[in-house]
C-alpha cells in the first residue's frame, strides 16, 4: 500500500493516453455487460415459479391441437396439482392491422397457475357469470381505451362461429394488473376469453386446445412428471411434448436466433481488440519509463518489486475501467428494460466481467513487468 502514490503517479504520467485507454476498456465492458446481460437474462428469463410449471404442446406440430380431455387424465398423475389450458384465438380489433393476442382458457385455473397475472377472485367470478366475458391485461386495455362493460367486436381469420360468421364480440368484465415481469409478456398483455363459450360456438376443432400448463409440487421431479404426461398420449394421433416452462421458453427463443452464439462472437471480437490495445499501451508506457525504473532500482528497489509495481498499475487500469463499464451497462439495461421488459445485470455477468478484466491486466501487464524486472541498471540509465 505504501507504493500506492508511486503507482498512481505512474498511471497518470500521460493523462491523455491513460484516459483514452480507460475509455476504450469502459466501452468494451459496456458492450460485454449488455450482450452477456441480455443473453443471461434471457436464459434465466422466467420467474422462480416457472420451475413449478410444465408446458404441454402437440409433439408433431406447433399449430396442431390436442384433446382437452387429457386434462382430467393429467390430474390423476401424482405431483400434478392444477392444469390450465390455452388456445390461440388470434383475431383483430376493427382493422386487420390491429392483431389481438386473444386466447381461450379456463380462467380459474389460469389464475392459480399464473399468480403473477394478479387475477382476482372477483374477476374469476365475473368471467364465470358472463360467458362471453373477456379479461384483459392492463397494457392492452389502455392501448385501446377499453373499460369494464365495453363490448369489443373481434374479427378473426380462422374461427367461424355457430352463425357462420367471422365476427365475434366479447364483454369486458375485468382488467388485471400483472407483475412488472409479466406486464409485457404474451400472457400478461392478453385478451382472455372463456374456453367453454368459445368451444361451444366455434365450428371446427371442437374439444381441443393448443397447449396445457401444469402446476407441479416439486421441480425436482419435473422430468419424471413430464414423461408421465407424455405417456398419456403416446402412440395416439395426438402425441404431446412436455417441458418445463423455462426450457420451452428457451427453445422458442433459439428458433428466433442463436443469441448465445451471436453475443459470444461479438464479445470475442471486442475482447481481442481490447487486449491488443491495452497490451500495447502498457508496453509503450513502460518503454518510455525505462530510465525512471532504472532510477528506482538504483535506489534499492528489487527487480521483483518493480515488476509488481508495473503489474498493479495494469490491474488498476483494467479493473477500474471494467467496473465503470459494467456500471454503465447496468444503467443502459434500465433504459432498454423499459422497452423490452425487465432484464438486469446478473451477478454472474459482473463476476465474469471482473475475471476477464483481471486476465486482461495480467496478459497485457506481464511482458512489460518482466522487462522491468530484468532491467540492467547501467544500460537503462545510459539509454542503451
Amino acid at each position: 500500500m505504501k507504493y500506492f502514490f508511486l503507482i498512481w503517479a505512474g498511471l497518470w504520467r500521460k493523462k491523455t493516453r491513460t484516459i483514452l485507454t480507460m475509455l476504450s476498456i469502459i466501452v468494451a465492458f459496456l458492450l460485454f455487460g449488455l450482450l452477456q446481460g441480455i443473453n443471461q437474462g434471457i436464459k434465466s428469463g422466467s420467474s422462480e415459479t416457472g420451475n413449478h410449471r410444465l408446458w404441454t404442446a402437440p409433439r408433431m406440430s406447433g399449430i396442431s391441437s390436442i384433446p382437452v380431455s387429457l386434462m382430467d387424465q393429467m390430474l390423476t398423475i401424482k405431483g400434478v396439482l392444477n392444469v390450465a389450458h390455452f388456445s390461440f384465438f388470434g383475431g383483430y380489433y376493427q382493422d386487420a392491422k390491429n392483431a389481438l393476442p386473444a386466447f381461450a382458457t379456463n380462467v380459474d385455473k389460469l389464475a392459480i397457475l399464473y399468480p403473477e397475472l394478479n387475477i382476482t377472485k372477483a374477476q374469476i367470478a365475473a368471467m364465470q357469470a358472463t360467458r362471453s366475458g373477456a379479461l384483459i391485461g392492463r397494457r392492452l386495455a389502455r392501448k385501446y381505451g377499453w373499460k369494464i362493460g365495453d363490448k369489443v367486436p373481434v374479427g378473426t381469420t380462422i374461427w367461424t362461429n355457430s352463425d357462420g360468421s367471422n365476427n365475434w364480440a366479447f364483454d369486458v368484465v375485468g382488467i388485471f394488473d400483472p407483475t412488472p415481469q409479466f406486464d409485457r409478456s404474451p400472457l400478461g398483455s392478453a385478451f382472455w376469453i372463456n374456453y367453454d363459450y368459445w368451444d361451444e360456438a366455434r365450428k371446427f376443432d371442437k374439444h381441443r386446445v393448443h397447449q396445457f400448463f401444469e402446476q407441479i409440487d416439486d421441480p425436482q421431479k419435473a422430468a419424471q412428471i413430464a414423461a408421465q404426461i407424455d405417456r398419456l398420449s403416446a402412440n395416439s394421433p395426438d402425441e404431446t411434448r412436455t417441458q418445463t416452462e423455462n426450457a420451452a421458453l428457451q427453445s422458442q427463443l433459439k428458433r428466433l436466433a442463436d443469441i448465445n452464439f451471436i453475443a459470444n462472437s461479438i464479445v470475442g471480437a471486442v475482447m481481442f481488440t481490447l487486449l491488443f490495445l491495452t497490451a500495447n499501451t502498457m508496453m509503450q508506457s513502460v518503454r518510455e519509463r525505462i530510465p525512471e525504473l532504472a532510477v528506482l532500482k538504483t535506489l534499492g528497489f528489487t527487480g521483483n518489486t518493480v515488476s509488481v509495481l508495473v503489474m498493479i498499475e495494469s490491474l488498476m487500469l483494467c479493473v477500474f475501467a471494467a467496473l465503470i463499464g459494467l456500471a454503465c451497462s447496468a444503467g443502459a439495461m434500465k433504459v432498454i428494460g423499459a422497452v423490452l421488459g425487465p432484464i438486469r445485470l446478473l451477478p454472474i455477468v459482473v463476476v465474469s466481467g471482473i475475471a476477464i478484466a483481471v486476465a486482461l491486466a495480467i496478459v497485457s501487464g506481464l511482458p512489460p513487468a518482466l522487462r522491468a524486472q530484468r532491467l540492467n541498471i547501467v544500460d537503462a540509465l545510459a539509454g542503451r
Binding site: 476504450s24 408433431m60 406440430s61 367471422n166 481488440t273 500495447n280
Partner: protein, 395 residues
C-alpha cells in the same frame, strides 16, 4: 515549395516511417477491422433475410389469403372460396383451358435440426396443378410425390438443416408414416425451406378437412393485377385480401430485418466509439514520437497544413487497411453462411444465406474512414500547434 508538394513530401515521409510504429499502428487497424467485421456480418444477416424473402418466382404471380390474415399460417379459406378465386377474371388459363390457380395448405411440422435443436418446418400441401403455378420448383433428385400416398419432397435448404430428411427416409407424423421421395430447388426462394406433399393427403394427416390457407394464381398479362384484384374483392362470396407475391413477401420481411439492422447499428456504434478511442491513442502517440521531426519540419519552413494532412493521411490509411481486413474477414467467414430464423410471418423456420454485398462492404469502409478521420483529427491539431522551440529542445 508549393503547399501540395509539401503535403506530398511530408505524407510520404510519414508513411515510410509507419513500419517503425507497427505495434501501435496495428491498434487502429485491428480495432477498426473488428468494428467493420461485426457491422457487416450482422447487416449481411438482414440483407440475406430480405433477399430470400424478396426473391420470388414469376413476376406475374399473385396470392390470396383470408381478409386480415397477416401471414399465410393464420389464414383459413374454404374449398368453395378457392374455386371462386380460380374462376375470377384476370387469371391466366393453362394450355388445357383451366385456370392457373393453386389452392395451398400451409402447416408446420416439428423436426430436429442437425445441431440438436427443435424447429418447426413449414409443410405445404400442393395439388398437381400447383407445379404449373410454381414453375421455379424443380426436382433435383428422386421424383415428385404421388397423390393419395404419404410421400413428400423436401427443399434443399430444409434437407441441409434438419435430421432425417434424406432421400428414402421415413418420418412419423401423427398416426401416419411419410417417405421422402425427392429433393427440390426453387431458385433460392423461401420455398427451399419447406416440405411439400399432396394437399388432400396432408390435410387428412392433420385432420384439416378441406380447409386451405391460400390460393396462388398466375395473372393474365392482358388484365394484369388490377383486373384480378377488382374481380376478387368485388365478389360478395369472398372475404379475402389480394397481393402480388412481391408485396406480400416484402411485408413479411420488414420486421425481422429492422431488428437486425437495429442490433448492427447499436452494437457497431458502441464498438466504433471504442475504436475511436483506440485510434486517438495511437495517433496521439504517433504525433508524440514524431514531435522532434515535426518541429524540425516546421523550423525549416513547412507550414502547419502539410503536417495536419500528413497525420490525417496516416490515420485514413490505417483505417482503410482495417476496414479492408474487417470486410474481407466478414466476407470469407460469413458470405453464403446459412442461418435460420422463425418469424417474419413466414410459416415456420426460414433458412437463408448471409449476403455480404458490395453495398455493405462500401458501408463498412465508410465507417472505417469516419473512425479514422475522427481518430486523426485531434492529434493532427496537436501536431500543428506544437510549439517549435519546445519540441526541438525535448529529449
Amino acid at each position: 515549395m508549393s503547399a501540395l508538394s509539401q503535403i506530398a513530401a511530408v505524407s510520404a515521409m510519414n508513411i515510410r516511417s509507419l513500419p517503425q510504429r507497427a505495434g501501435t499502428s496495428s491498434v487502429v487497424v485491428i480495432g477498426i477491422a473488428g468494428v467493420v467485421a461485426v457491422l457487416i456480418s450482422v447487416l449481411a444477416m438482414s440483407t440475406g433475410f430480405i433477399r430470400t424473402l424478396q426473391k420470388t418466382g414469376p413476376a406475374n404471380r399473385a396470392m390470396v389469403v383470408r381478409t386480415g390474415a397477416s401471414a399465410e399460417l393464420v389464414s383459413v379459406l374454404t374449398n368453395e372460396a378457392a374455386l371462386a378465386v380460380a374462376d375470377s377474371a384476370g387469371v391466366k388459363k393453362g394450355s388445357d383451358g383451366r385456370p392457373l390457380a393453386s389452392p395451398e395448405t400451409l402447416l408446420v411440422m416439428n423436426l430436429s435440426k442437425k445441431d440438436g435443436d427443435d424447429a418447426s418446418a413449414p409443410f405445404r400441401g400442393l395439388t398437381q396443378d400447383g407445379f404449373a403455378v410454381h414453375p421455379e420448383i424443380k426436382i433435383t433428385s428422386g421424383r415428385s410425390f404421388r397423390p393419395g400416398v404419404n410421400e413428400m419432397i423436401v427443399g434443399k435448404a430444409a434437407q441441409r438443416l434438419y435430421k432425417g430428411l434424406d432421400l428414402g427416409a421415413h418420418i412419423k407424423l401423427f398416426d401416419s408414416t411419410w417417405t421422402v421421395v425427392g429433393t427440390f430447388a426453387s431458385d433460392g426462394t423461401g420455398r427451399e425451406s419447406e416440405l411439400i406433399a399432396d394437399q388432400q393427403t396432408l390435410n387428412s394427416a392433420y385432420h384439416r378437412g378441406n380447409s386451405l390457407q391460400s390460393v396462388w394464381v398466375i395473372l393474365d398479362p392482358r388484365g394484369g393485377f388490377q383486373t384480378f384484384k377488382d374481380a376478387v374483392t368485388t365478389n360478395p362470396q369472398l372475404q379475402v385480401d389480394v397481393s402480388t407475391e412481391k408485396d406480400f413477401s416484402a411485408r413479411q420481411a420488414s420486421n425481422i430485418s429492422n431488428i437486425l439492422k437495429f442490433v448492427a447499428y447499436v452494437v457497431g456504434g458502441i464498438m466504433a466509439i471504442g475504436a475511436v478511442f483506440g485510434a486517438l491513442n495511437t495517433m496521439y502517440s504517433a504525433v508524440s514520437t514524431r514531435s522532434r521531426e515535426i518541429a524540425t519540419l516546421r523550423a525549416i519552413g513547412f507550414g502547419p497544413a502539410p503536417v495536419v494532412v500528413s497525420v490525417f493521411v496516416e490515420a485514413l490509411l490505417l483505417a482503410l487497411i482495417g476496414g479492408a481486413i474487417g470486410a474481407s474477414l466478414a466476407w470469407l467467414v460469413f458470405n453464403g453462411h446459412s442461418v435460420d430464423t422463425l418469424g417474419g410471418g413466414f410459416g415456420g423456420q426460414l433458412i437463408f444465406d448471409l449476403a455480404v454485398t458490395p453495398g455493405l462492404v462500401a458501408q463498412g469502409i465508410i465507417w472505417a474512414c469516419v473512425i479514422g478521420v475522427v481518430g486523426g483529427l485531434f492529434p493532427a491539431i496537436r501536431a500543428a500547434r506544437l510549439p517549435v522551440a519546445t519540441a526541438l529542445r525535448a529529449v
